[in-house]
């Protein structure tokens, strides 16, 4: 029995722990190199981020993404995490209230109800998306900060909306980094 255990464990470690990931890596690097290496997007000639990983935005000139619970910085790529706050947690209610205040202060005239994903922390802390509702909510602020007509900013958001797969799976969404890069592109 000892021989069987030793040989099978060693052989499977080599095969499943070495050959299997090596073959998958080889094929993936050959056939889908962009996806396999993190879907990096560039602006001009240098890397500007990943199409799949959100970045922190705080200036009024940019669309803000989902709140991020990573530490020590929001959107810390080395430490993916959610808040793990329970639904009845006083800390959750306090955090949401504080985020609402920041949004209201940045856009005093905007009385629209605030979409839930704009004031709740994402599961990974790296969420690259917003709901279209949450992006549209920010249109007046971004347009004012950039001195652009709101219709133009709104049209840009609408052009970035991605729909659910087959109309059912997933949620309607907007990639925040792509949207902000497009905004900067309009400026030039």
């Amino acid at each position: 029995m000892i021989r069987a255990v030793a040989v099978l464990l060693a052989a499977f470690t080599l095969l499943l722990g070495g050959v299997y990931p090596a073959v998958v890596t080889g094929i993936a690097q050959l056939v889908f190199p962009a996806q396999a290496n993190g879907s990096v997007v560039s602006a001009g000639d240098r890397a500007a981020g990943s199409a799949l990983v959100g970045q922190p935005f705080a200036s009024t000139r940019y669309f803000w993404g989902r709140p991020s619970a990573t530490t020590p910085v929001p959107f810390d790529g080395r430490a993916s995490a959610g808040s793990n706050l329970g639904p009845s947690s006083p800390a959750l209610a306090a955090a949401v209230r504080a985020r609402i205040e920041v949004l209201r202060a940045a856009d005093p005239g905007n009385d629209a109800p605030i979409p839930v994903d704009l004031v709740t922390a994402s599961g990974s802390g790296l969420d690259p998306h917003l709901s279209p509702a949450a992006a549209l909510y920010q249109v007046p602020r971004v347009a004012r900060a950039r001195g652009m007509p709101p219709e133009r900013v709104r049209a840009l958001v609408e052009a970035h909306v991605e729909r659910p797969f087959l109309g059912l799976f997933g949620a309607p969404r907007v990639n925040v980094l792509a949207l902000n890069l497009a905004l900067d592109g309009l400026d030039r």
Partner: protein, 581 residues
Amino acid sequence: MTAAAYAEIAVFFAALTALAVPLGGFIARALAGEAPLVGRVLGPLERALYRVAGVDPAEEMSWRRYAASVLVFNAAGLLLLYALQRLQPALPLNPGRLAAVPGGVAINTAVSFVTNTDWQAYAGESTLSPLVQMAGLAVQNFLSAATGLAVLAALARGLGQRSKGALGSFWVDLTRGTLHVLLPLSMALALLLAGLGVVQSFGGEGRWPLREPARDASGRPVTEQVVPVGPVASQVAIKQLGTNGGGYYAANSAHPYENPTPLTNLAEALAILLVPAALCFTFGGWVGDRRQGWTVYAAMLAILVPLTIATVAAEQAGNPALAALGVDQRPGPLQAGGNMEGKEARLGPVDAGIWAAATTAASNGSVDAQHDSLTPLGGLWPMWLMQLGEIVFGGVGSGLYGMLLFVIVAVFVSGLMVGRTPEYLGKKIEAREIKLASVAILLPSAVVLGGTALACLVPAAAAAAGNPGPHGFSEILYAFSSTANNNGSAFGGLTADGPFWRRATNVAMLVGRYGVLVPVLAIAGGLARKRAAPPSAGTLPTHGPLFAGLLVATVLLVGALTFLPALALGPVVEHLQLHAR
């Protein structure tokens, strides 16, 4: 709940069934060494392995020898995985220069992956090198699933044997389950995921300047974003297919590099249930009566579909505490709405609700949303699905062998009601089978309730709960429900790397795995020695809606009577408090 949510659930389960039926037939052929294509490629490798390992592929093991082989092989795997973590800094492929994993956490992780639990008291991307993830964790993801598959095959042989007392060879079952079933499936899923955006490389990191520099908590400027990458797609494939659930990243399949799009989410969610679902049909083929497989499958769906709907409905309804603040949680064409804390915008509450039900019905435990932030009822149903014993689909192999224990109990109970000697597939069910089945059903439940009670009494253990009030109690109850049933998901607010929690979860995971597996093999050995009696007019048929109903009632009755009081103290109280405001 919206009509689109019902439609999504319906399409999901239709797709699952359409994939599981043919896969069930494939697995039956593969475990017999007769799979076409795959057998031709990997068959020579299989035979070479037997030669070198000194294995006689025709060996017929007694249940004791089969069980001993399982235990020794799993123990050796545990030691190897522990050693790899401790030796991490001395091993190659460690671009992040990560240190050795502390001993206590390394033991906990080794136990966790060998028992098919994948409870994680560490954060993947900052603790383990690509080498340890690949050669340590992923290997056990395969082998723990193959172990479950092998034990199920042994039980099926016990039921199908014509009084020979032989259960086949563990080495052959393990090898074929790994080479012919799990490896080709994982390879296919890994490549699909890699094409859709899941990263796959030999380590390193993505690094780029932030579009808008930020500041950390102490005011220092942060100008770069760095995201570790590695062999993620290959690992995610087997963690989903092998009902393991341990993520490459701490955020598991909520992380955009592990699950970037709604389509990858669908593929990964289907993969959670796929093999356990297919095994129902494999089993029907093994015992020579397809109706037996369909009956068990229907009973599982009859429990899972309503609980999925209940979970999705709770999540889509949102959180009343946030509604009170004027937050808009209504689902519509411009937003998924609902309870979005801990969820990703690309997925939303319907996808996350389906996943939460699937991952706890199967003993998978991967998450695409943080379960600690689910609404009270959205967390209650997944918790109960684990507490039922991980038998509604459950783990690869272990789910069905656990469900067959309930079949034995259901046959016994109905035998008492009609006054006939109970039998299943022609084999008489007697005192020994009922005793062993009761032990295997009650042991994990005792650990869940006993462990939760103990943790509430030990101040250091209770203090690990990250949320106050009944939700903190839910975190503790969830932790034991998850580990004692080898699920591995968590209410992540619980700090699980302290000494109490490490030791308690070690015990829970080992009892939950081997306290069921060994009695199952003992039952298989006993049944194999019995002569099969032809069905008579007084035999209760174990197929069809009547028996499926009996089976569902047995499972729900045992699960409800055991856990309702505990659930009332956690999620039920929290739900009432939240809605009373």
